[in-house]
């Protein structure tokens, strides 16, 4: 249940936080910007100031409920942090983001980072290409 996870963060259970968290639960595997979230809520006649959306997103990220990604030079995208690690494939044309998991590249990635003195934090790997819709 939504409020359970929220309570564990120590944050107060407010309607804004519940509404925003519900958006993520209803859109798993989606990558949403602060504007996307505000728009989705507006469709339900829920009006939340953008400043609040940003603040709540920051708090959720701090609490490891969601992950923030800066894939391109546009808006930051957020997604539910579900524990299952996965990486991302980003279309350089339209910005479309596709999740994937690959054990082999995963292992290689760990070796590479380690051999350069990097330690793992999170598991982020991003591949850039052009998606099929944009390729024609």
């Amino acid at each position: 249940m939504s409020s359970e996870k929220l309570k564990n963060t120590g944050l107060k259970i407010t309607s804004a936080r519940l509404a925003i968290f519900r958006i993520f639960e209803n859109a798993p595997d989606k990558h949403l910007s602060a504007y996307d979230i505000q728009d989705l809520l507006k469709e339900e006649d829920i009006d939340i100031a953008l400043a609040t959306v940003y603040r709540v997103l920051g708090q959720f990220e701090e609490a490891d409920l969601i992950q923030r990604h800066d894939f391109d030079d546009e808006k930051a995208l957020y997604e539910l942090h579900d524990g299952k690690q996965h990486d991302h494939m980003v279309c350089e044309r339209c910005g479309n983001v596709t999740d994937f998991f690959d054990g082999e590249i995963e292992k290689r990635r760990e070796d590479l980072l380690a051999s350069h003195g990097f330690t793992l934090s999170g598991h982020r790997l991003v591949l850039y290409g052009v998606c099929s819709s944009c390729a024609n």
Copy 2:
């Protein structure tokens, strides 16, 4: 020589373009922001408006002289486009960028993109971790 490559772009050879291109040639493997470039030039008592730096960077990128990267939510970084393909390792704490090349992950990347209907464009792959300086 600098002016050779510049001439091939069809752009006029101006002092601003020469100065900016020289910065890149003198700092291979470095990833510089527009501000970095302006600062480096200021140290040589060369004053170029930020708007010009941005415009020139855009033109250089268009001409494939340099590459633009948006690794995080901060400033865009530019580096010389030397032909040798390589990927990047980014420290999530300090933003430090390290180049690397790995044939195995390279091949795996191509397979992965293809199997998801993505086509290659450029060869961008980014690993995120924490560098040794930030790890302590």
